[in-house]
Point group: C2
Chain length 306, copies 2
């Protein structure tokens, strides 16, 4: 049996997961973002509670996967850094290995979500790219059926490719990053800036923009379609660079389904390199299917794919 | 012993190459771009002449690698398409396998150049990206010490990531591709457009722009530095997406050495994601070292890395 631990700035969730990706029990404890030592204890406590829920002892667990925001170096078993949790080359594998005799993996949460989607719905593709649209834009890259994490786990920061030289200031400090145009935060600020029907709303989230556009409000259609276009431009760049068999778009906004996906597929079909050459297959683009459990399931599947 | 065949629109070059990448003999025949059958015969004839030059019989050859412009599907042993040679899902492996009992690989010429650089100077890096700046901008990606060629060999078209949405029309038909700003052709047209000292020159090539800038002519410095900035922005995107251990810049312009490389390294150091996090190593950026023989040597090394 496998344990997946999904570590965020607010909560630490753990689950017992079987070989088919089914979650047999869940537990959640409060996060301790101000101290890495306290955070390690929170992860461990969440794990023990999830095991208790499924009636497991430590001998029943063959692998524990930890997925966290931040930059993780699974070769060393450490979390190097996160913007919202006080990691400092925190030795996660060492901490867990002293407490349980199981394989321990630690990876970035977006990489975990990528692995969860790939393991359960990837159909054994040789190459697979996961793009998470949320507060930021993250990515996970699977090549030759294995997670590709790059030098010190730094690969997959697809949100920080330059889309507009000298453009919007990104949270990372650079200008014109794809994330500054294609994140859901960017969609929301596009809507705020546009005003019109959005001025009347007390709060705007991604769904509100899609809902307003669905109702046919012209400024909402304009904001939504402009944003989808920026998403599509970046997706097309990833297709040109990596030409993966499959590319999956995740994050809550991926629930918009074809409203989001159809224009992205159309843009890629019309603009990808060699799009008109017979015999060149096009990357299959779809929406993520694992939703709330993606973090737990992906972390629990790490041992299979890293 | 290995044979490398470098197929271009003007000439077909072949060489006998040893396990250390030394070229023992060379041969060259005229290209036959109008017919794929004639082109296959030209490749074969170049191979036989190179073997003759080194005094080899077919029994001495364990692998033949063919590198060509265009989209190659090495899984099938075919060249699907090229903009300047009349390939049409041309069965290269089948043609050679009927004539010589050796392993046959066929890959895109930029992928071959990437493999040549990697095999001889890559130092066994797990991940390695090669960027060729020339008439266009091409790329070759090595991951886990193997060429990553993507779906139907379509990966590595790094020149077609979008750098400026709605920007310059690219040769591929899309707008705003990196290639339309960072190729040597773009550098030359930047210079033509700038006029000034360039108006007096009967012909401009990349070297002429660098030479004029070296002499301190302000409009040449402006054109050169603006172009290098566009190159750096795309390189930085590749670093963020793939964070390879090494990234090598090739093409004749890479002979400019530090004049080209130092500003690219500086831009990446200042703008790459997590550039200020201790413990995150930065991709090592350098210039290609194999020059005229890159195509032959890379093709001959294919058997080791695909």
């Amino acid at each position: 049996m496998y344990i997946g631990i999904d570590v965020g700035g607010t909560a630490v969730k753990a689950g017992v997961v079987d070989g088919e990706g089914r979650v047999l029990s869940r537990a959640e404890v409060k996060s301790e973002p101000a101290s890495d030592a306290a955070m390690l204890r929170a992860m461990y406590s969440a794990m023990l509670r999830a095991m208790e829920g499924a009636g497991l002892s430590k001998d029943d667990v063959s692998a524990v996967g930890i997925g966290s925001s931040g930059i993780c170096d699974n070769a060393k078993g450490t979390i190097i850094y996160s913007g919202n949790i006080a990691y400092d080359n925190t030795a996660v594998r060492e901490f867990f290995s002293e407490r349980i005799n199981a394989r321990i993996d630690v990876e970035n949460d977006v990489n975990c979500a990528a692995i969860g989607e790939y393991a359960l719905y990837g159909g054994g593709a040789d190459s697979f790219v996961f793009v998470a649209l949320g507060t930021g834009v993250g990515g996970g890259i699977i090549i030759n059926k294995r997670l590709y994490s790059g030098l010190h786990g730094g690969a997959g920061e697809v949100g920080h490719m330059t889309l507009v030289p000298g453009g919007r200031l990104c949270g990372c400090g650079a200008r014109g990053c794809w994330e500054a145009y294609a994140s859901v935060s960017a969609l929301i600020s596009d809507a705020r800036e546009r005003g019109g029907c959005f001025s009347a709303l007390p709060a705007i989230d991604g769904k509100a923009v899609f809902d307003a556009a669905e109702r046919g409000l012209p400024e909402a259609v304009e904001v939504r379609d402009g944003w989808i276009r920026r998403v599509a431009e970046g997706v097309c760049s990833l297709v040109n660079i990596l030409r993966p068999e499959k590319l999956v778009i995740g994050g809550a906004v991926s629930r918009q389904g074809e409203t989001l996906l159809a224009p992205i597929r159309r843009y890629v079909a019309e603009n990808a390199y060699a799009n008109d050459v017979p015999g060149i297959g096009m990357t299959e683009i779809s929406a993520a299917r694992l939703m709330g459990d993606a973090g737990i399931v992906g972390a629990a599947m790490l041992h299979k794919l890293v």
